[in-house]
């Protein structure tokens, strides 16, 4: 890639003597480096917008906090009997609620595409001489990053749910959150490619978010469920992140293995236990596939 800054020729510079010489900039041919810069700036814009919008960061924390402390405490008095000493109901639902804390931020970060379209900024992005792929990738990574931030803030509250601040556990959870946030953002971006009205986008995603959360096993163990619910939980992509996250938390608690197996059972397909790696891999593949669809959708439009 050649880059050149050229000063205008002498005659025109003399004509415009009192003025600054026009700085000649030649825009380079499209290349990998250019595409990476585009990914970078789209990503950075998400962070800037998140930083300046503190209200959003605070309000998105309210819901998980309510679930953990109000629902967790309230239901805990009922469910407490089946839990071993040292494990509260809050501990049990913590991984699920942690997943929830990134759920809204991730999906709604994609709403900004719909917003940008309504307010014209999307046009500025789409007429640029860069590949649509770099814009979609930047957007997915940006949404994933801010949603993970949101999750990290919620991680600070882990102690209140008696989840230990073990560095390895924290790192595992952050990694899983990042993956979850990426997949959810990719899902949102894919939807935003098709849904052009802001209200419609919010309505559709709101409608999907709660079932995703309730069916993921965030609030109850996946073992011993009636067949219909069991099937539905296995279809929910969120299940495949909540499971490994709960596994990570429970493997850092000092409780009898029997309880662990009951409260944090492996996800099973018709009796076959899905390995953690496959579970995580599935979520990653889903995220990449949805991002691929989003890229194809945005590349199609003029």
């Amino acid at each position: 890639m050649t880059m050149a800054t050229q000063v205008t020729d002498v005659t025109s510079a003399a004509d415009a003597a009192p003025l600054v010489d026009a700085i000649r900039v030649s825009v380079p041919e499209r290349g990998l480096r250019h595409d990476l810069r585009a990914v970078g700036i789209v990503w950075r814009r998400e962070l800037i917008r998140f930083r300046t919008d503190r209200l959003r960061a605070i309000t998105s924390l309210i819901q998980p906090v309510l679930f953990l402390f109000v629902l967790g405490t309230g239901l805990g008095s009922l469910a407490g009997h089946s839990l071993p000493p040292g494990v509260s109901f809050k501990t049990f639902i913590y991984p699920g609620v942690l997943a929830m804390s990134v759920l809204f931020t991730a999906i709604f970060s994609a709403a900004s595409i719909v917003w940008d379209r309504e307010f014209g900024f999307l046009r500025e992005i789409l007429v640029a001489p860069v590949s649509r792929a770099s814009i979609v990738v930047g957007k997915c990574l940006g949404g994933a990053t801010i949603a993970t931030f949101q999750g990290v803030i919620f991680l600070i509250l882990a102690g209140f749910a008696r989840v230990p601040y073990n560095p390895l556990l924290i790192l595992t959870l952050i990694g899983e959150l990042l993956l979850l946030a990426f997949t959810l953002t990719a899902f949102g971006v894919m939807m935003a490619a098709r849904i052009k009205q802001f209200q419609a986008f919010m309505a559709v995603t709101q409608m999907l978010v709660m079932p995703l959360f309730f069916l993921s096993g965030a609030l109850y163990p996946l073992s011993g469920l009636p067949a219909w619910l069991s099937v539905l939980t296995r279809i929910d992509p969120l299940t495949y992140v909540v499971g490994p996250m709960r596994h990570a938390v429970f493997s850092h608690l000092s409780i009898p293995a029997l309880f662990s197996a009951h409260l944090s059972p492996a996800i099973t397909w018709d009796g076959w236990a899905v390995p953690l790696g496959l579970s995580i891999g599935l979520v990653a593949i889903m995220g990449l596939a949805m991002m691929g669809i989003a890229i194809a959708e945005f590349s199609k439009t003029e």
């Binding site: 700085i23 250019h34 379209r117 014209g120 789409l126 007429v127």
Partner: protein, 351 residues
């Protein structure tokens, strides 16, 4: 990064390898058409714009101006015909065209939650402006539109005129060969409009840039080196503003009378003049208006309440080529093509 002050490759050969000389057309369009379903928004237009020229598309709303600009900017694909911009085909070499043009849209396309500087930086990165050039160039374009001292303010706090200026600055940031301005002053108050024009005229002096703009304001078209008058998707006249006005050669007379219908009849019978109703007045053109007015008062059997005589303006040019004033053309809600085209555009959303 190469800073080269002695040899100027940009003069002989454009950085992208396209041959460049002052006479070469920067934009050349032939046989361009665009259909929206059954509706023909652009019906076969041809024109060329030479390097450094400011070229205006003048016509009422819905005449096909925006559609044409969108085809040139690679935002829409023509139904037939070719459009070459900065040496590249707008249909097949979209990226190359996009690298070489700057755009200022009719509607704002700024991120109002970012500062002016952040908006420009975003643009610089998307267009791959060499890193070392971003800072100085940003300063230059912001100085040009008088917004350097406001660069750290959120764009949402800007007035409409400031936002438009910032968009012009952004369109120039990557030093395009052609700057497209779609209705650059629409929706702004008269004072702001004239200040935008001051910036645009200043820009013509500073940068060797070709400008293509659309407008439906007659007075603004006068800022252009050449004008194409477009109506119903066709170019009806194309020349310098002066030549167009000279081609009309007649003064426009408008009279208010007690009975307009009989006044029009009397004008035809007594003077052999075809008059029509425009903007609520009996309107006609005569060779020397001032000398005609006394005769008019003496010989017209209908009482005259008021009279105005005006030198040929672009309004008259528009009228002589299209048979209607631009305001009447916009007011006529019966034009099916226009409405259908607008509906089609609105229905597809902003893309």
């Amino acid at each position: 990064m190469v800073t080269d002050t002695t040899t100027n490759t940009g003069g002989a050969v454009a950085p992208d390898g396209a041959p460049a000389s002052a006479r070469d057309p920067v934009i050349s369009v032939s046989g361009l058409t665009k259909k929206y379903g059954e509706v023909e928004a652009v019906r076969g237009i041809d024109f060329e714009v030479t390097r450094g020229e400011t070229f205006g598309f003048l016509g009422p709303n819905g005449a096909g101006k925006t559609t044409t600009i969108e085809i040139l900017c690679t935002l829409k694909v023509a139904t037939s015909g070719t459009a070459m911009v900065a040496g590249f085909d707008a249909r097949t070499q979209r990226d190359s065209v996009r690298r070489n043009i700057g755009l200022v849209f009719q509607d704002t396309t700024l991120d109002t939650y970012l500062t002016a500087e952040q908006n420009l930086r975003f643009h610089a990165e998307l267009y791959g402006v060499p890193k070392a050039a971003v800072g100085p160039r940003m300063r230059q374009v912001l100085d040009m539109v008088g917004l350097w001292d406001r660069k750290d303010s959120l764009v949402g706090t800007y007035s409409g005129g400031m936002q438009r200026r910032l968009e012009i600055a952004r369109g120039l940031l990557h030093a395009p060969h052609v700057l497209f301005l779609d209705e650059p002053t629409v929706g702004l108050d008269p004072q702001t409009r004239s200040s935008i024009w001051a910036y645009i005229n200043d820009l013509k002096r500073r940068e060797e840039i070709t400008m293509f703009l659309t407008t439906h304001y007659m007075d603004e078209a006068e800022h252009c080196d050449r004008i194409a008058i477009i109506d119903h998707g066709q170019i009806v006249a194309i020349d310098t503003p002066e030549a167009l006005k000279a081609s009309v050669g007649k003064d426009r007379v408008q009279i208010q009378t007690a009975n307009d219908t009989s006044a029009i009849e009397a004008l035809r019978d007594a003077f052999g003049i075809e008059a029509g109703m425009h903007e609520g007045a009996v309107t006609f053109s005569v060779a020397s208006g001032e000398q005609f007015v006394p005769r008019l008062f003496a010989e017209l059997p209908v009482p005259i309440r008021s009279v105005s005589v005006s030198r040929p303006s672009l309004d008259d040019v528009f009228m002589s080529y299209t048979g209607t004033t631009i305001r009447d053309a916009e007011a006529s809600g019966t034009d099916a093509m226009r409405r259908a085209a607008q509906r089609f555009r609105a229905g597809r959303g902003r893309r």
